[in-house]
Amino acid sequence: MRTMKVRLLFFAVLRDIAGTGARELALADGATARDVWQWMRESYAPLADYAQPPLIAVNEAYAAPETVLRDGDEVAFIPPVAGG
C-alpha cells in the first residue's frame, strides 16, 4: 500500500498533551482527517474518550473530517477557540 506523509500541528491543550508543537505522520493513501484524529486517540491517552474530533484545519483553512488528505498536507485540530 502506498503511503504519504502529513505534518501534524498541535496547539493549546493538544500541544500540552502531545508534548510537542508538530510532528510528521505517515498515512495510507486515501486517509482522511478523521483517520488522523483516530490516530490521536490511540496515541494519547487523555484523548481516548473523544470519539468526535474537534474542528479541523487542513492547510490553514477549516475542513470537514471526511477531507481526504494528500502528501505534504498540514493538519491541525482546533480545540474550542478563546480569542479576544
Binding site: 496547539f11 493549546a12 474530533p53 474537534p54 474550542p80 477557540v81 478563546a82 480569542g83 479576544g84
Partner: protein, 138 residues
C-alpha cells in the same frame, strides 16, 4: 499590517492607522485580562495561536465586516503570549463618517473573532492553570 503581535498594543497608533479626514467618529474596543473567570481568580493568561491561519481568518472577518459597512475602515490587533491582569489582549478600531456604523462594525468584528479565529488562552491563578473551553468536550 499583521493582525497579530507579541508586543503591548498601542491603541493610539492603531487609531491613527485607519482614521481618515472624512471620518467623524471612531469606536475603539479593547479586550483586557480580568482577574476572575467562572468564580476563579486569574493572575495571567497565556495566548496560543495558529498564526498563519489566524492571520487569514481575521483578514476574512475584516473584509466581511467592511463589505457589510462600506463606509467603515477597520483595524484589528490581537496580542499573543503571556499577559497579566489589565493588559489589553485585543484592540479593534472602526472609523466612519458617522458614529452608528462604527459601533455596529466594531461589535460585529469582535463577535466574529471570538467565534472562528484559532487563538486559545490558558488562564493561570492561585488554583492552577487551565485551557479555557477544554472541560470534557472538544
Amino acid at each position: 499590517m499583521p493582525y497579530l503581535t507579541d508586543d503591548p498594543i498601542d491603541s493610539d497608533a492603531l487609531v491613527r492607522s485607519v482614521l481618515r479626514n472624512s471620518d467623524g467618529a471612531y469606536v475603539l474596543f479593547e479586550g483586557v485580562v480580568r482577574n476572575h473567570h467562572e468564580g476563579k481568580r486569574v493572575e495571567s493568561i497565556f495566548y496560543d495561536c495558529y498564526r498563519p491561519m489566524a492571520e487569514k481568518e481575521i483578514g476574512a472577518i475584516v473584509r466581511e465586516v467592511e463589505s457589510q459597512f462600506p463606509d467603515v475602515a477597520l483595524a484589528v490587533l490581537h496580542r499573543l503570549g503571556q499577559l497579566v491582569v489589565g493588559d489589553a489582549s485585543i484592540a479593534i478600531v472602526a472609523s466612519s463618517p458617522h458614529r452608528a456604523e462604527s459601533f455596529s462594525a466594531c461589535r460585529m468584528t469582535i463577535d466574529r473573532i471570538k467565534e472562528t479565529v484559532p487563538i486559545w488562552k490558558k488562564e493561570r491563578g492561585p488554583d492552577g492553570e487551565e485551557w479555557v473551553g477544554w472541560q470534557g468536550k472538544c
